[in-house]
Amino acid sequence: MGKNAIEVHNLSKEYVINSRGENWAAVAKNIFKPQKSVVKAVQSLNFEIKSGEKVGFIGKNGAGKTTTIKMLTGTLFPSSGYCKVNGYNPVERTNDFKKSISVVMGNRSQLFPDLTPRDYLELLQTMYDIPESVFAKTVANLARILNVTEKLDLQTRKLSLGERMKIEFLAGVATRPKVLFLDEPTIGLDVIAKRDIRKFLVSLNKEENLTVFLTSHDMEDIASICDHLIIVDRGKIIWDGQKQELLNKFSNNKYISFIKSESFNETNIKAKIIDQDDVTTTIKVPAQKVDHVIAQLAQNNQGTDYQINDLKLEDIILELFAEEN
């Protein structure tokens, strides 16, 4: 096995869907002759991920994130192209492959609500064929880091969302995978639970050289965990590189926000307007011109309360999407 944990070559996925039609006539017609349309969820993706990397896989809803994760985990078969995870072809679904990965989905629980987390963990232990003593130690250790030691023997139904999610994480890594796939793992969690989980991931990555493949809408998740970013839009990659590289690329720009004055006139603004509502406006200007632009705006009596901000990861990604359109 090479040092690449994941290799993806021209990976594509198409779905055929039946559309029902909007009105009664269309519905009736559809009974006899279903209308089909092809949706390209993912279009020829290419990327490589080295083992031990923490990858953020970013995109809007429907960009093909979950589809990609499902193909990488062998749940979904690609329409064309192929991928390799830990040197295995996921499509073959060999047990060795399955044991080398773990999947945690924020919106789908894998726990048994009627039983305790420990019951579930015991099942995993036999399923993944891990020696009991080793497993017990791992679980105890992980539970301590995640602050859920005393929750392990309560009925899962009685746990809070955050606690349940932590257990999912615990279960995900307790089987000692080489690659951990996370799909929206912090959805609906509070700040403290999020922080615990982020810390947990970073430390595991360091200690066990665990490869993390993460999708999230929460840019703070991505910013604090990931070092390698892959950004997709409508099934295509629009950026693939180190996080720092991306930040650097946009570091020579700043955002200026100000409250509009009564004489505000859009045509007077020479810079690009990023965002604007009834009260405020945000514009983008090159870093070295900030003072100059503000002076000019003030002179023309365009606004008050000027604020200068660096671009956050979130802004950069929005800019990337805007560039694509």
Partner: protein
Amino acid sequence: MLKTYLSIGKISLKSILANKSSVVILLLQALVPSLVMFYLWSLILDQGQTIGGFSKNQIVIYYIGVNFINSFVWYAVDWELNDDIHSGELSNIIHRPIAIEKYYFAKMLGDRLANLLLLLPILVIGFLYILLNNLLHVSLMVLVEFAVSIVLSAILWFLFSYIVGSVAYWFDNLFFVLLVKEVVVNLLAGFYFPLEILPSFLVKITKCLPFQYFSSFPIDTLVKGFSLANWGKNTLVELIWAAVFYLMVQIVNKKGLQRYSDVMG
């Protein structure tokens, strides 16, 4: 690998024990229809007649038997598979290092054993009551035959239901398909009434189908007692059916999973 299946079995066993009141539900499900049938048939056979070779006592025990099999041997793999496929729950099992059909089988086993365990006192008392009151004459041999038939019926039922449930890979909603299957199978398995009371040409047809082994055959074994040769012959046919179903499960499972991975994920 065996350990994994035991572990899954243990999980579903614990699930049942966590929900003890569900056993009460199952018990009622078995008893109330039996009770109604008791009243109905007591009235019909009140002069000591027989119907399809069944006396009043025999037919009441027959109904208790099929209702218990319905509640405690049959396990709705088809409904569960249909649910899991359409809710996407199946994905949770696919990426685990275990074969899907074996996962469900282990689940059924654990579930049914747990139910039996909880009900054991009631079953023993009921059985003793029947024996002590001389409502039924059974030899040790018949008991052994009965036990074997029950186990085989559970296996055959699983294989058949798994095939039916797999249809969910190809269709959006199976609610009524499963309902129709339920009614037809119940009828042909002798759940609504003993197959022997049908006109003779219909009896012949039902005896050629595999469904009688789901409940009619094991209960007949207990209530009427077959000769060993007759029982053995039927059991052999049952095993052949099981083999056929097993092959079908392999095919359907492979194609279904392929389809699941192409379309649904």
